[in-house]
C-alpha cells in the first residue's frame, strides 16, 4: 500500500485509464562506480561522446522512439553539466514528444537511492522503463511492454520486472565480461528462476528449489546479453523503499528471486534476437559500442542521422562506412580506409592512415599519422609522425611529434604528451594527480561521480615527470599500482577485464571432478569411511605419543564410530588395516619385510587390548582375518610377513586358533586368495607349518 499524495497518486486506475497513461521512464544518469576514472573526473559518463554524440542522447533517443512520453533524469555527479546539456538539447524544446524532467541531488549513492527517491516523490504511476544514461540501444521494447502488462493483468501484479536481454553468444565483443550472466528460466512462462553473474565462476550451481514450480521444462541460458533495460512495475520503487539494503539492480533481482516464496513477486525476461542493446560499462565496451555504431549496427541511430538535431553535427556517409562532418580537410595521400568518423572542422595532414577510428570536432592531425581504433574527442591536436592504436584521447589533449600510443592507452582531458615518446600498453595519463585522488578518497563513497573539487590547486604544483609524459608533456601517469588497493572495483582496469580463458585450471577441475565421480561410483560412503580411517590413525598415533591407556583409545574410537556412522564390522576392519599399515605410514613404503615386522609386532602388543575389545564373536575373528588378508593381498611384497603377524596375533590372544584354521579352509573359496595361495605356494606351506607349530605350542601351553 502506497501513500497516495495529491491527485497524481496511484489511485486504482481503470483499464482504460491505464492504457492512456503516458509511458514513463527513469533514466539514471550516473553510474555509481568509477570505471571511467580519471576521465569521468572532468565529465560525467553520460556526457562522454560516443560517435561524437553524448551517450545520454542515445539513451533518450532510444526511450523516445520506443514511445516514452515522460522521462525522469536523475543526476548526481556533475549534475549541472548534465542539466546544461539537456536544457540545450532537443529534448527540452517545447516540441519534444518526450518530456524530460531533471532531478538532481548530491545524495544519491546508488540506483537504490534513486528509486527510493522515485517512490518518495511519487513520480511513477504506472509501469516504467528503467535505464542507465549509458545505454545504447535500438530495441523496440513495446513487445516486451505488452507482455509485461499482460502478465500483470493476468497474475495480479505478481510480475514486478521484465528484463530485456539480447541473444548473443558468449565471447561476442558487445558482451561485457563483467556483466556476463547465467539465467535459469521457465521455458513456458519466461520467468526468471535464477540469475547470477558468472564472472570468476568455474561451476554454475543452481539450487534445486528453483525446479520445483510445477513446470517440467527449464532453460539455462548463457547466450544472453544484459541490455540493462528493465520494464518495472510501480512496486519496484516501493520494494526499494522497503528494502534499504538493495543498492543495485542486481541486489534487487537476487532479493526478489530469493524471497519469491515469501513475497510472491516474480521477474520475467524478454529476449530479443534482433535489435541492438548494450551498456557502455567500461572502456572495452566503449570501444565495441563505438565501432558497432560506426558499422551501423544501431540503425537508425547512425552518425549521419544527426538525431540530436544540432546544427553543424551533420555528416556525410560514403562507402566503407566513412563519415565526414562539415569542413573536414584531408591532406594529400591520406587514406581513410574504413569505419572512420570525422567531426566537423577537423583537418588531417598528408599521408595519414586512418581506420576504424572516431575523430571529434575541431581536431588537427599532422602528417604521416597512423590511427587504428583510436577514439579522439574534440579539440585534439596530433602532430606529425604519431601512431595511435586502440586508445582514447580526450578533449583538448595534445600529442606531440613522433609519439607512439600502444593499445589501451588513455589520455584524459588536456594532457600533453611528447615529443618522441612511446607509451606502453594500458598507460593512463591525466592532469589530475593520482594522490590528489587518494587524499580525498578517505571516506569517500565509491563513485566516479563524487565531488572532489576542493584541493585541485594544491596538486597542480607537483611537477610533471618528463620521463613519463615527454619533455614538453603535461600530465601524471596513473599507475597500475594504484589498482592494488583493496577495492575490487579498482582492481579492474579501465579497459575492463582482459580475456583469459584459463584453460589449464579448467582441465584440472574436470580431472578432479572425474576422480570424484569415479570414487563415488565405487562406494557412496567412501568419504565417511576414509575420514574415519584417518581419525583412527590419528587417535592411535596420539595414543603412542602421549601414552594413552588402551581403554581410553577404545572410548575415542567408539565415539568416532558413532560420529561417522560406521558399523562394528567396519570398525574392526579399519582398525586392523590402520594398525597393519602403521609402519608404512610412519616409515614409508620402502620397508623391507624384516623391518616391517620388526616395527609392527611391538605395536600389536601395545594395542592388543584395543583389538580384544572389538574381536569377540567368532565372526569378528573371521572378519579380522579377512581384513588382514586383504591388506597383504595389496602389499604383495610383504606377504611373507603375514605369517608372523598372524602368529603374533595368535600369541596375543587376539585371534583364536579355531578361527585361523577355519579361515584357511573357507578362505580358499575366495577367488583372490586362491590366486594368492597359488602364487605363494611356498608361503602357504610355511604358513601351514607354522600353523601346526602353533597348534602344538598352544596345546603345550594349555
Amino acid at each position: 500500500p502506497h501513500p497516495s499524495t495529491g491527485g497524481g497518486g496511484i489511485a486504482p486506475l481503470t483499464e482504460q485509464e491505464e492504457e492512456e497513461q503516458p509511458l514513463q521512464a527513469v533514466l539514471v544518469a550516473d553510474s555509481f562506480n568509477r570505471r571511467f576514472f580519471p576521465i569521468s573526473k572532468d565529465q560525467p559518463r553520460a556526457l562522454l561522446p560516443l560517435g561524437n554524440v553524448a551517450m545520454i542522447d542515445y539513451t533518450l533517443e532510444f526511450l523516445t522512439s520506443t514511445g516514452v512520453q515522460e522521462t525522469f533524469v536523475f543526476c548526481c555527479w556533475m549534475s549541472n553539466k548534465i542539466k546544461d546539456h539537456l536544457l540545450k538539447s532537443k529534448w527540452c524544446r517545447p516540441t519534444s514528444p518526450n518530456v524530460v524532467h531533471i532531478i538532481t541531488s548530491d545524495l544519491y549513492r546508488s540506483l537504490g537511492d534513486v528509486l527510493r527517491d522515485v517512490d518518495a516523490k511519487n513520480l511513477v504511476r504506472n509501469d516504467f522503463i528503467l535505464v542507465y544514461g549509458d545505454v545504447v540501444s535500438n530495441i523496440d521494447v513495446s513487445q516486451a511492454l505488452q507482455e509485461h502488462r499482460h502478465r500483470r493483468k493476468v497474475d495480479k501484479n505478481i510480475s514486478v520486472m521484465t528484463m530485456v536481454f539480447k541473444e548473443s553468444s558468449p565471447g561476442h565483443k558487445s558482451r561485457c565480461e563483467e556483466d556476463d550472466v547465467i539465467v535459469a528460466m521457465d521455458s513456458k512462462s519466461k520467468r526468471v528462476l535464477h540469475y547470477q553473474k558468472t564472472q570468476g565462476l568455474k561451476k554454475l550451481q543452481f539450487p534445486m528449489n528453483i525446479f520445483q514450480h510445477g513446470s517440467d521444462e527449464f532453460e539455462i541460458r548463457h547466450d544472453l546479453l544484459d541490455c540493462h533495460i528493465s520494464i518495472c512495475s510501480p512496486q519496484v520503487a516501493e520494494l526499494f523503499t522497503d528494502n534499504f539494503d538493495y543498492q543495485t539492480r542486481n541486489d534487487f533481482v537476487r532479493g526478489i528471486l530469493v524471497n519469491e516464496e515469501i513475497l510472491g513477486n516474480q521477474i520475467h525476461l524478454y529476449v530479443t534476437q534482433d535489435g541492438y542493446g548494450a551498456r557502455v560499462s567500461n572502456l572495452q565496451m566503449y570501444d565495441s559500442v563505438s565501432s558497432d555504431m560506426v558499422r551501423r549496427w544501431v540503425y537508425p541511430l547512425t552518425p549521419e542521422a544527426n538525431f540530436t538535431d544540432q546544427q553543424g553535427q551533420g555528416c556525410t556517409h560514403s562507402r566503407h562506412n566513412v563519415y565526414r562532418g562539415a569542413e573536414v580537410s584531408l591532406g594529400h595521400g591520406s587514406q581513410m580506409e574504413e569505419n572512420v568518423l570525422i567531426g566537423r572542422d577537423t583537418s588531417i595532414g598528408a599521408n595519414c592512415h586512418i581506420s576504424n577510428s572516431v575523430i571529434g570536432n575541431n581536431c588537427t592531425i599532422g602528417d604521416n599519422v597512423v590511427l587504428d581504433r583510436a577514439h579522439m574527442w574534440n579539440n585534439v591536436h596530433i602532430s606529425s609522425n604519431v601512431e595511435i592504436h586502440q586508445s582514447v584521447v580526450c578533449d583538448g589533449a595534445v600529442v606531440k611529434e613522433a609519439v607512439h600510443l600502444n593499445k589501451q592507452c588513455v589520455l584524459a582531458y588536456n594532457v600533453v604528451i611528447g615529443p618522441n615518446l612511446s607509451l606502453p600498453d594500458g598507460t593512463v595519463v591525466s592532469m589530475h594527480h593520482p594522490e590528489e585522488e587518494e587524499e580525498d578518497d578517505d571516506d569517500e563513497f565509491l563513485s566516479d561521480d563524487q565531488e572532489v573539487g576542493h584541493s585541485k590547486d594544491k596538486t597542480r604544483q607537483k611537477a610533471f615527470n618528463p620521463a613519463e609524459v615527454g619533455p614538453e608533456g603535461k600530465g601524471y601517469i596513473w599507475k597500475a599500482s594504484m589498482n592494488d588497493t583493496e577495492d575490487e572495483e579498482l582492481a579492474q582496469c579501465l579497459w575492463g577485464l582482459v580475456l583469459n580463458p584459463d584453460p589449464e585450471s579448467d582441465s584440472e577441475s574436470e580431472a578432479s571432478e572425474e576422480s570424484q565421480d569415479r570414487s563415488r561410483s565405487v562406494s557412496p560412503e567412501i568419504d565417511d569411511v576414509n575420514a574415519f580411517q584417518l581419525e583412527v590413525l590419528g587417535t592411535l598415533q596420539r595414543g603412542l605419543e602421549e601414552n594413552i591407556v588402551c581403554d581410553n583409545l577404545v572410548l575415542e574410537i567408539n565415539s568416532l564410530k558413532y560420529a561417522y556412522n560406521i558399523t562394528l564390522k567396519e570398525v574392526m576392519q579399519i582398525l586392523t588395516r590402520v594398525v597393519l599399515e602403521y609402519p608404512f605410514q610412519q616409515q614409508g613404503t620402502q620397508l623391507t619385510t624384516l623391518q616391517y615386522t620388526g616395527s609392527l609386532l611391538p605395536l600389536l602388543k601395545t594395542w592388543s587390548p584395543v583389538f580384544k575389545n572389538y574381536i569377540k564373536r567368532a565372526q569378528d575373528h573371521l572378519d579380522c582375518l579377512s581384513a588382514v588378508e586383504e591388506l597383504f593381498l595389496e602389499q604383495d611384497t610383504h606377504q611373507t610377513a603375514m605369517v608372523k603377524v598372524l602368529m603374533k596375533m595368535y600369541q596375543l590372544e587376539i585371534l583364536e586358533e579355531e578361527a585361523i584354521l577355519k579361515w584357511f579352509s573357507t578362505g580358499a573359496t575366495n577367488d583372490k586368495s586362491r590366486q594368492l595361495r597359488k602364487n605363494q605356494g611356498k608361503q602357504r606351506m610355511s604358513l601351514q607349518r607354522k600353523e601346526s607349530e602353533e597348534d602344538e605350542s598352544s596345546e603345550e601351553g594349555e
Binding site: A184, M208, F211
Partner: protein
C-alpha cells in the same frame, strides 16, 4: 549390416512383482501377445532381419514350447541365455555377447511399446557420427485406476533431469533428482560452448540406445559398469566434455595414460571413438558447423557425442509398473491390425462384446456375458451373465456364472467362483476365488 539389434529380455520386472511372480516379464500378455513381441515387431517393421535376444533359460523354453507364447516374427532370433541368478545388468549382458558384436548396435528393452519412428534415433546416430543416441518421450499420465491402490497415487518418484542443447537433440546433461542434493551444477566451460541448455524433467527414457561398437569394447575392458542406463549412459554424457576427449594430441596423452593404471579404460573408448580420417577431412573442408556464435570447429572438437530424440507425440510406454501394464493393454491393440476376436474363439451370439475388447484364441464366451474395454486371454472360459469391464484376464482363466469383474487384473489359470464381485483387484495366478465373494481393492494374491 549397419546395426545389430540387441533385445534385452532378461529383466525380472521387479517393479511389478505382483504380475511377474508367475509369468516372466517378457511373456506378460499385452493385447494377447507376449510383451517381448512388441519390441521385436518394432525391429521387424524397420527391416531388421536378425536380432540377438538376451534372456533367461526359462523364457527361452516358454517361447519355444508354449503355443500361447509363440512369437509371430519372421526375423532370425539369436537367443542368448544368461543365468538368472547371476544378477547381471544390461551392460554386463552386452559384455557377455561381445564376441557376437561386429558393428554398432541398437539396444532395445523388452518392455518397450512404442510407435516411434526408429529412424529418427538412428539418423541422429548417423548424422552426427554419435557415440550414443537414444530415445525419450514425454511421460504419460496414467489415467486408469490401478488395482490395489486407493485413489491416485502421487508419484513421489524422483525426477530425471535431462539437459539438451538449443536444438533439442544433443544430450548434454543427465542426472536424477536424488543425486542433485547440492543443486544442479554445470561447468561454465560447457555453457560457453553450448550457451543454451534446455532442462527437461517430464521425460521417460525408452531404453532404446544406439551405441558405437567401441562402447561395447569399452565395456569389455571396464568390468565395473554393469548397467547401461544407470552407469554407462551417464558416463558417456559426462565424458563428452572432459578435456581428454577434445584435446588434439590424443596420442601423447594416451601414452601417458597407459602408464597409469586406470587410464587404460579411458584410452580404449577414446581412441575408438575417433572420427574416421575421411570424415574428419570432410568436416574440415565443409562449411557446415553444428553451432553458431563462435569460430571453433564443429562440435568444438568433441569426439564423443551423445544425442537424444525426444518424441513429441505418439505412443511410448515402458511396461515396468502395474499402471503402465494396464495402460499398455488399453492402447497396444491399436498398434496392430488384427481382428479383436480371435477366429478360434467360441463366442455365443447372445453376448455383448465391446469393440475395444480383445478375445484370445480358443476362448469360450457364453450367453449374456458382457465384455467391455477388456482383454481376455487365450483358452479362457467366461460363463453366463458375467460382466467384465476395464479388466485384463490372462490365459486359461475360468469365470463362473454371474461374476462381475471391474478394473481388475486376473492372472493365468485362476478360477473365479460363481457370482463373485471383483472390483479393482489383482488376482494372482492359479487362484480360486470363492463364489459369491465380494472383493474391492485388494491386491494380495494369496501366493504367499
Amino acid at each position: 549390416m549397419e546395426l545389430q539389434a540387441v533385445l534385452m529380455a532378461a529383466g525380472g520386472g521387479s517393479r511389478m512383482m505382483d504380475l511377474t511372480y508367475n509369468t516372466r516379464k517378457p511373456l506378460l500378455p499385452v493385447g494377447n501377445k507376449p510383451l517381448i513381441w512388441y519390441p521385436l515387431n518394432l525391429l521387424e517393421r524397420v527391416g531388421f532381419e536378425e536380432v540377438i535376444v538376451i534372456t533367461t533359460k526359462e523364457v527361452q523354453k516358454m517361447i519355444s514350447t508354449d503355443p500361447k507364447m509363440k512369437l509371430d516374427v519372421k526375423m532370425k532370433l539369436d537367443i542368448v541365455c544368461i543365468q538368472e541368478d547371476a544378477d547381471m545388468g544390461t551392460a554386463d549382458a552386452l559384455r557377455h555377447i561381445q564376441q557376437k558384436i561386429k558393428t554398432d548396435i541398437l539396444v532395445v528393452s523388452c518392455d518397450l511399446i512404442t510407435d516411434a519412428a526408429l529412424h529418427e534415433v538412428v539418423d541422429l546416430f548417423r548424422a552426427h557420427n554419435a557415440t550414443l543416441s537414444m530415445l525419450m518421450s514425454k511421460a504419460h499420465e496414467f489415467t486408469e485406476t490401478v488395482p490395489g491402490q486407493k485413489g491416485k497415487k502421487k508419484t513421489g518418484e524422483q525426477r530425471d533431469f535431462v539437459g539438451v542443447d538449443g536444438t533439442g537433440k544433443r544430450l548434454l546433461f543427465m542426472a536424477n533428482e536424488a543425486d542433485l542434493d547440492k543443486g544442479l551444477v554445470i561447468r561454465k566451460s560447457i555453457m560457453r560452448k553450448l550457451p543454451r541448455m534446455h532442462i527437461k524433467t517430464g521425460l521417460v527414457d525408452a531404453h532404446l540406445y544406439c551405441l558405437k561398437k567401441s562402447v561395447v569394447d569399452f565395456l569389455a575392458d571396464n568390468k565395473s559398469v554393469s548397467s547401461i542406463r544407470g552407469e554407462l549412459v551417464p558416463y558417456l554424457v559426462r565424458k563428452q566434455f572432459s578435456k581428454s576427449m577434445t584435446s588434439p594430441n590424443v596420442n601423447d596423452e594416451a601414452d601417458q595414460k597407459l602408464k597409469k593404471k586406470d587410464g587404460n579404460a579411458n584410452l580404449e573408448i577414446q581412441i575408438l571413438s575417433r572420427d574416421e580420417v575421411l570424415l574428419q577431412l570432410t568436416r574440415e573442408r565443409s562449411c557446415w558447423n553444428d553451432h553458431r556464435g563462435d569460430m571453433s570447429e564443429a562440435y568444438h572438437g568433441v569426439r564423443l557425442r551423445c544425442y537424444v530424440h525426444i518424441m513429441d507425440e505418439g505412443m511410448c510406454y515402458r511396461v515396468n509398473t502395474l499402471a503402465a501394464y494396464i495402460e499398455a493393454n488399453r492402447l497396444a491393440p491399436k498398434l496392430f491390425d488384427e481382428p479383436a476376436v480371435h477366429p478360434s474363439a467360441a463366442i455365443s451370439v447372445r453376448c455383448l462384446i465391446g469393440a475395444d475388447s480383445i478375445i484370445g484364441a480358443s476362448c469360450q464366451i457364453s450367453d449374456k456375458a458382457s465384455i467391455k474395454r477388456s482383454m481376455i486371454g487365450a483358452s479362457t472360459t467366461v460363463r453366463e451373465k458375467v460382466k467384465v469391464t476395464n479388466s485384463i484376464i490372462m490365459h486359461g482363466v475360468t469365470i463362473e456364472e454371474g461374476c462381475n469383474i471391474q478394473g481388475s487384473v486376473i492372472c493365468s489359470n485362476t478360477v473365479i467362483g460363481r457370482g463373485a464381485d471383483i472390483k479393482y483387484c489383482l488376482v494372482g495366478s492359479a487362484q480360486r476365488i470363492e463364489p459369491e465373494g465380494e472383493h474391492t481393492t485388494l491386491s494380495e494374491c494369496d501366493w504367499t
